[in-house]
Symmetry: C2
C-alpha cells in the first residue's frame, strides 16, 4: 500500500531541523532500519554529503540510519532495495533536473507505488504532485520537464504564505501567482502552510497538522480546508 | 545606438501604474509617436487586449499611442517597423514562452540592438538579462529555453527584496536563492529594488533611481552599488 508523508517544510520557526515532525516520523518509519536519502535539492548549495550528514544526525535520534542516494553508482538498484525514502527540500528545479538526468524518476515512482514509505519536505514534497509548476523556487537550472511523480490528484505549493496586509512590496502574492497558473492549467493546487503535512495511505489522502490549507481550483474562489480533510475527493482525473 | 530603460517594477507603493517613472518615459520616448506594446506576460491573467488598454490609458497622458504586438499577424514586421517598444511585467515564464513560440526573440534583440528604444518593467526587464534564471515568478508554463535577450552583462532579479528580520516564514530569502544560483552558474546577478531602474545608452549601463542595488558575484559576498554606478564594468564576458 502506497504510504507517503508530505510536509510543507522541514523546519518551523523556533524549532530545529525536522524537530516538529520527528514524532510523526518515528511512527511513519516504524520497522525501517535505514532510509535512502535523496539530497539533490541542495538547500543553500550544501553538497550532497553535507546534506546527508545533516539528515543523518537527526534520524540517528530515532535510531534510523541514513544512506545518501548519491553514493550509489546504480541508483535504480538502490531505490529498489530501499526500506524507506526521504527527499529533502532545497531548490525544486535542481532536484527535478537531477532526477531526470540520473533517469530515476520512474523508478522512484514505482517503488513508492509498491509501498516503500516516502517522506518529503518542501521541494521533496513538491515532486509528489503532478507537476512542479507551483514551486516557489528560482529557476536556477533548466530541467528537461516540469512533470513530477503524480502521487496526488493536485499540485502543491509548499510554504504557502498568506498575503501580508502591511506589505508595501509590489511583487505578486502567492495567491496571485496560483491564480495566474489557473489561466493556463486545470490542475488543482493546494497551498500547504508551514507546519501542515499530507498523509497518503493507499487511496486515502488526508490533511494533517494544526493549520488549514488553501485549495485553488480553476475558475473558482479558493477555499480553506480544515486539518483532517479528505483530499482524495479533490476532483482531477490524472492518469500516471 | 542601443537605448534601454529597464525598471524593477511598473508600480511603486502608493502610486498608480507607471506613475513614478512617467517623467523618465517622457524623455526616453521623446520623438516617438507610437510604441509597440508586448503584452505577453499577462499579469493577474489579464488578456492581451485588457493589458494593452491599461498601458494605452497611461501613455495617452504623455501623448504616445500604443499598439499591441498581439494584433499583428506578422509580429516580425511589426517589430521591424516599431518606433519604440515596451514589454510589460507579469509572469516571466509566460512571456518567454510566447516570445519563443512566436519566434520573435531574435527580431526583438536585433531591432533594439539597432537603436529602437526599449522600455521594460519586471518580467519585461528580466528578459534583458542573459537568462531568465533569476525571476521570482512561478513556473506556470514550460518555455523551450531560459535564454533571453542578453543586453546586459549580468542577470536581473527585479523586485529585489531584503530579508525581513522579523519574518517567521522559513522559505528561502531572495539572497539565499541567488546564492544557490551561483552554485550552478557564473553569470552575475543584480538585485534591483522597486523604484530603481537601469539606463542603457550604447555601451554605457547606469544604475538610476534613489535606491542602491545589490550585486551578487559567484563566490563573493554581495555588494551594494550606489545609484549612478557604472554597471558596464561588471565583469562577465557574454557573446550574444
Amino acid at each position: 500500500m502506497k504510504k507517503l508523508l508530505i510536509a510543507s517544510t522541514s523546519t518551523v520557526h523556533g524549532k530545529s531541523y525536522l524537530e516538529y515532525i520527528l514524532p510523526e516520523l518515528k511512527v511513519f518509519f516504524k520497522g525501517v532500519d535505514t532510509i535512502l536519502f535523496v539530497p539533490f535539492a541542495r538547500p543553500s548549495g550544501l553538497t550532497h554529503d553535507e546534506y546527508t550528514d545533516k539528515v543523518r544526525s537527526v534520524f540517528s535520534t530515532i535510531n534510523i540510519k541514513v544512506d545518501g542516494l548519491h553514493h550509489y553508482t546504480n541508483p535504480i538498484e538502490a531505490l529498489k532495495k530501499a526500506q524507506g525514502i526521504f527527499t529533502g527540500g532545497g531548490n525544486t528545479f535542481v532536484l527535478v533536473n537531477e532526477l531526470y538526468k540520473r533517469n530515476i524518476l520512474d523508478t522512484l515512482r514505482d517503488v513508492v507505488e509498491k509501498g516503500v514509505p516516502y517522506f518529503g519536505t518542501s521541494a521533496g514534497s513538491n515532486i509528489t504532485g503532478i507537476t512542479m509548476m507551483n514551486t516557489n523556487d528560482m529557476p536556477i537550472v533548466y530541467p528537461p520537464s516540469f512533470a513530477t511523480l503524480g502521487f496526488l490528484n493536485f499540485n502543491l505549493n509548499p510554504h504557502y504564505l498568506d498575503p501580508d496586509p502591511n506589505s508595501t512590496h509590489m511583487g505578486e502574492t502567492r495567491e496571485t501567482r496560483i491564480k495566474e497558473y489557473h489561466c493556463f492549467n486545470k490542475i488543482p493546487v493546494l497551498g500547504l502552510r508551514e507546519g501542515s503535512w499530507i498523509a497518503v495511505e493507499g487511496d486515502k489522502i488526508t490533511l494533517k497538522g494544526k493549520l488549514k490549507a488553501r485549495l485553488f481550483l480553476q475558475g473558482k474562489e479558493p477555499v480553506e480546508l480544515d486539518s483532517g480533510s479528505d483530499l482524495s475527493t479533490i476532483e482531477y482525473v490524472h492518469l500516471i
